[in-house]
């Protein structure tokens, strides 16, 4: 169990090639749960492989509890990794699979047996210990992979590389719960790589949003939701995505022309394209008197909520309302948003004062 520091870390797959992972500096608390969230090819797996030691960063250092492990081989780092595809050693039984990391480290047979039994008990695998691991279902194989990490008492971190992708939806839920429980019980640092925002938001205390090899924002689920650092985060997190409307500066206010949306500003603004954004969850519908006037284009359900798409000129604004709203497709409607829920974005970046 360790605190992980990524010190001025960057990686390019060849000298002179563009960064696969742009320079970053980050500290991960011991026992915390973190999620690396981003679209495919954004550098999240690169980052994970650097932490596990499968990849050597071209710049910077990786520190576990203050100790430099950048040059250390994977096996010596004491990390565990669960892959997208369940990995089991198919010639071995479930018990032998769980004990394998200890066998590799030359632990005594009594110790191996005791640890394997403890971990199997925790993961509910006791009855399977003597069975060939290959006969298990995909979700149980993932549990075995996870178990191989837990069997080492001194494991620094458990890295999860999209481990729930191939798991059936109901079992996904169970597995996620087990991961959370294990984290609370063993206080082991866990890092989950995923492109599924629900997975990231429900699992992690802190989420690292990545895009194009760059860390865009790191923060708690609430922070990402309430104060997305960039348009990309606002768009990537939340369902449906955040609404963005082009805006202009008028004296000491930023306004969306033709609407009642406005945010006060003081001082100079960076040059560039201005937008005002707000969450569909924070907007409400009113027959008249709202900030934005439009026509209902489409209504669909997400869970028990209703999402109403409203067309206003070339732009569509989405509103998320709980239960059934009185809105009807094709009818005019107005949308109101509280002023403190509006965010101003300049060139895709959020204005901190807004």
């Amino acid at each position: 169990m360790a605190e992980i520091i990524l010190e001025n870390l960057a990686h390019a797959y060849a000298p002179g090639a563009p960064y696969a992972l742009k320079p970053l500096h980050m500290t991960w608390r011991n026992g915390g749960t973190y999620a690396l969230l981003g679209p495919s090819g954004c550098g999240k797996s690169t980052m994970l492989n650097i932490i596990s030691g499968l990849l050597r960063p071209s710049e910077g250092r990786v520190l576990f509890d203050g100790q430099d492990v950048t040059a250390l081989d994977t096996g010596k780092r004491n990390v565990a990794q669960v892959f997208q595809v369940p990995v089991i050693y198919k010639s071995m039984t479930v018990g032998e699979n769980l004990g394998f990391p200890l066998v590799c480290r030359g632990a005594s047979p009594q110790k191996i047996k005791a640890r394997v039994e403890t971990v199997a008990e925790r993961l509910g695998l006791t009855q399977w210990l003597k069975r060939p691991a290959n006969a298990l279902t995909a979700d149980m194989k993932q549990l075995v992979s996870l178990g191989r990490g837990l069997v080492r008492e001194d494991v620094a971190a458990i890295l999860l590389d999209e481990p729930l992708t191939v798991i059936d939806p109901q079992l996904k839920f169970d597995l996620r719960r087990i991961l959370k429980e294990i984290n609370e019980e063993f206080r082991v640092t866990m890092v989950l790589v995923t492109h599924d925002q629900t997975e990231a938001l429900t699992f992690a205390e802190e989420i690292v949003v990545m895009n194009h090899g760059e860390v865009v924002q790191m923060g708690s689920p609430t922070e990402l939701f309430e104060r997305p650092a960039t348009e990309h985060v606002g768009w990537f997190i939340g369902s449906p995505a955040m609404n963005f409307l082009p805006a202009l500066r008028e004296a000491d206010r930023i306004v969306v022309p033709g609407t009642g949306l406005s945010v006060p500003v003081t001082g100079p603004l960076p040059q560039g394209e201005l937008k005002i954004g707000f969450r569909p969850e924070h907007a409400t519908l009113a027959p008249t008197g709202g900030h934005i006037e439009g026509r209902v284009a489409r209504i669909w359900f997400e869970g028990s909520d209703e999402v109403i798409g409203i067309d206003r000129g070339a732009h569509r604004v989405k509103v998320r309302a709980s239960g059934t709203s009185p809105a009807r497709t094709g009818e005019p409607v107005t949308v109101s948003v509280p002023g403190d829920r509006l965010s101003v974005f300049v060139n895709g970046k959020r204005l901190s004062s807004g």
């Binding site: 596990s52 499968l54 081989d73 994977t74 096996g75 010596k76 990390v79 565990a80 990794q81 892959f83 997208q84 595809v85 990995v87 050693y89 198919k90 010639s91 071995m92 394998f100 990391p101 590799c104 480290r105 060939p132 290959n134 006969a135 992979s145 191989r148």
Partner: protein
């Protein structure tokens, strides 16, 4: 309905009858006759040929010799082929060059290569003995002594067919998923343990396939023996197919050699089936 579909099956069926079914049935019939160079024709002598075969020590010796030769060469081919495949599997310099280089023996004609090897093994003219002399081992009676001749046949077989093993096993290695190897690295397994616990078990199925193909091929071993030693010295390198060839094509004891061939076919089918079952049980672990 659609009775014409049988017309489309006919060509295949005719070929099958002509090249497999008829020869097989005809051989069975011939094996119960005394057809030879003096009395050609299909008379009926009952099981006389089989009684004679049972007493024919030379035949059973050849079969035993063939078994040793087959199992020995195939195991060597497997070990060497696997080692070479592991060598050029991962990123090494010029690996494409080596991959092609290792395949060269397989692309050559067995008879031609046997002639070349006969020259190499030649006790006074060949290049091998002077080399052995120079490094202090001393010249060896390669083709004139029983043990040496047997070894010579094995060397040529291994040389010729290791590339085949190499090819199949390399294809197998290249098709393996990467994750188990990463997992083994993370779990702290060294190269030997990784091979024993990860690589080898995952290669079980393809290994069985490669070994069986080679066993079937090697059990028909004939041309190397024919060119290299002609079964000699004495009968010390004679294999079953070579012995059947002598009886049938040289002595023209057609009836007797038919009974030898049939027995050979049956023994080989049973033995290879049993070996296949044993190998699958031993090496293929990914049955659920």
């Amino acid at each position: 309905m659609y009775r014409q579909k049988y017309i489309f099956l006919l060509p295949g069926l005719l070929v099958l009858v002509a090249i497999i079914l008829f020869p097989l049935l005809f051989t069975i019939r011939v094996s119960f006759s005394s057809w030879d160079v003096y009395n050609p024709g299909l008379n009926w002598i009952g099981g006389e040929n089989y009684a004679r075969l049972w007493e024919d020590a030379r035949y059973w010796e050849a079969l035993t010799r063939l078994s040793v030769l087959t199992v020995g060469t195939v195991l060597l081919q497997y070990t060497l082929g696997f080692a070479l495949a592991l060598l050029v599997w991962r990123d090494i310099a010029a690996r494409r060059f080596f991959r092609v280089l290792f395949l060269v023996p397989m692309m050559t004609t067995p008879v031609v290569m046997s002639v070349i090897w006969r020259t190499i093994f030649h006790e006074s003219l060949g290049p091998l003995n002077p080399i052995l002399d120079a490094i202090g081992i001393g010249a060896q009676p390669w083709l004139s002594q029983a043990g040496h001749a047997f070894a010579a046949v094995m060397i040529v077989e291994v040389w010729q067919w290791t590339p085949f093993m190499f090819l199949l096993l390399l294809a197998g290695l290249l098709s393996l998923p990467n994750e188990p190897f990463l997992a083994a690295r993370i779990d702290g397994a060294g190269p030997i343990r990784t091979f024993l616990s990860v690589t080898f078990p995952m290669m079980g199925a393809i290994s069985v396939g490669a070994i069986l193909i080679r066993l079937i091929e090697a059990s028909k071993l004939m041309e190397t023996v024919y060119v290299l030693t002609s079964g000699g010295p004495g009968t010390s390198t004679e294999t079953t197919s070579y012995y059947i060839y002598i009886r049938g094509m040289r002595d023209f004891q057609i009836g007797y050699s038919a009974s030898l061939s049939l027995t050979y076919l049956i023994v080989m089918s049973v033995a290879l089936t049993l070996i296949a079952k044993a190998l699958i049980r031993l090496m293929v672990k990914d049955r659920t």
